[in-house]
C-alpha cells in the first residue's frame, strides 16, 4: 500500500530563516511525486512534479528535491506570504489516483 508521511506537522520560522520540509514515501510504482500549497479556505494549488531520484525543481524561494525514499521542499529566506500548508502526494499507477500526506503547516513571522 502506498504511504506518504510528512514532517514536521508544523513549522514556525522567522522571516529570512531558511528550512526544509520532509516527505517520506513508499510506493509500488512511482509515477510522480507532487507538491501542493494550500491556503486557508482554499483548495490545494499545484507547485511541482518530480519523477526520478536526483531531480530538482525551483520556483521563487522554493526548491523541491527527490530521492528514492523521500522528497524535500527547501524554503530559502521565506517571507510571511509563504505561510501555508504544504502537501506532498504520490501519483500511483492506478487510474491516476493520488495518495496525500497530512501536510506541514508553515508559519513565517515578520
Amino acid at each position: 500500500e502506498d504511504q506518504v508521511t510528512q514532517s514536521p506537522e508544523a513549522l514556525r520560522l522567522q522571516e529570512g530563516e531558511s528550512s526544509s520540509l520532509n516527505c517520506s514515501y513508499t510506493v509500488s510504482g512511482l509515477r510522480g511525486l507532487f507538491w501542493y500549497r494550500q491556503d486557508p479556505g482554499k483548495g490545494p494549488e499545484f507547485l511541482f512534479t518530480l519523477y526520478s531520484a536526483g531531480e530538482e525543481k525551483e520556483k521563487e524561494r522554493l526548491k523541491a528535491t527527490l530521492t528514492k525514499k523521500e522528497s524535500f521542499l527547501h524554503i530559502t529566506a521565506p517571507k510571511p506570504e509563504d505561510s501555508a500548508t504544504y502537501l506532498c502526494a504520490l501519483h500511483n499507477t492506478n487510474a491516476g489516483k493520488s495518495t496525500f500526506g497530512d501536510g506541514t503547516t508553515l508559519t513565517v513571522k515578520p
Binding site: 509515477r31 510522480g32 507532487f34 501542493y36 479556505g41 482554499k42 483548495g43 490545494p44 494549488e45 499545484f46 512534479t49 519523477y51 502537501l87 502526494a89 501519483h91 487510474a95 491516476g96 489516483k97 493520488s98 496525500f100 500526506g101 497530512d102 501536510g103
Partner: protein, 113 residues
C-alpha cells in the same frame, strides 16, 4: 485558475437527510475526483470518474454515491448524512496525460448536525 466551481460553498444539514454536492468544470478534462479533508487524516479519495458514466470507488466511499452524466459535471451524494460526514469536500480535475497534476476547487464545507 483551472475552471472548477463547487456548489454550495457551505451547507448545514441534519442527520439522515440526503445531500448533493456539485462540481462543475470548464476544462473538458476526462478525470474528476472527490476528496474529503479532515484534521489528522489529510485528503482522502471518496470516488473518481474517468469519463461520462464511468466512476469508481476510492478509499472512503461508504455512504457516498456519485454520478457523471456530462463531462463537465460530477455530483457527490450523501444518501443519508451522518455526523461523521462533517468535513470539507474538494473536487479535483486532471488532464488525461501521464503525471498531470490535480487541480482543485475551493471546497464545500459541510456540517451535519
Amino acid at each position: 485558475d483551472a475552471g472548477i466551481t463547487q456548489s454550495p460553498r457551505h451547507k448545514v444539514t441534519e442527520t439522515g437527510t440526503p445531500v448533493t454536492l456539485r462540481c462543475h468544470q470548464t476544462e473538458n478534462h476526462r478525470y474528476m475526483y472527490w476528496y474529503r479533508q479532515d484534521p489528522g487524516h489529510g485528503l482522502r479519495l471518496i470516488h473518481y470518474s474517468y469519463g461520462v458514466k464511468d466512476t469508481d470507488k476510492g478509499e472512503v466511499s461508504d455512504g457516498y454515491s456519485v454520478s457523471r452524466s456530462k463531462t463537465e459535471d460530477f455530483l457527490l451524494t450523501l444518501e443519508s448524512a451522518t455526523s461523521s460526514q462533517t468535513s470539507v469536500y474538494f473536487c479535483a480535475i486532471r488532464e488525461d496525460r501521464d503525471n498531470s497534476p490535480l487541480h482543485f476547487g475551493n471546497g464545500t464545507r459541510l456540517t451535519v448536525t
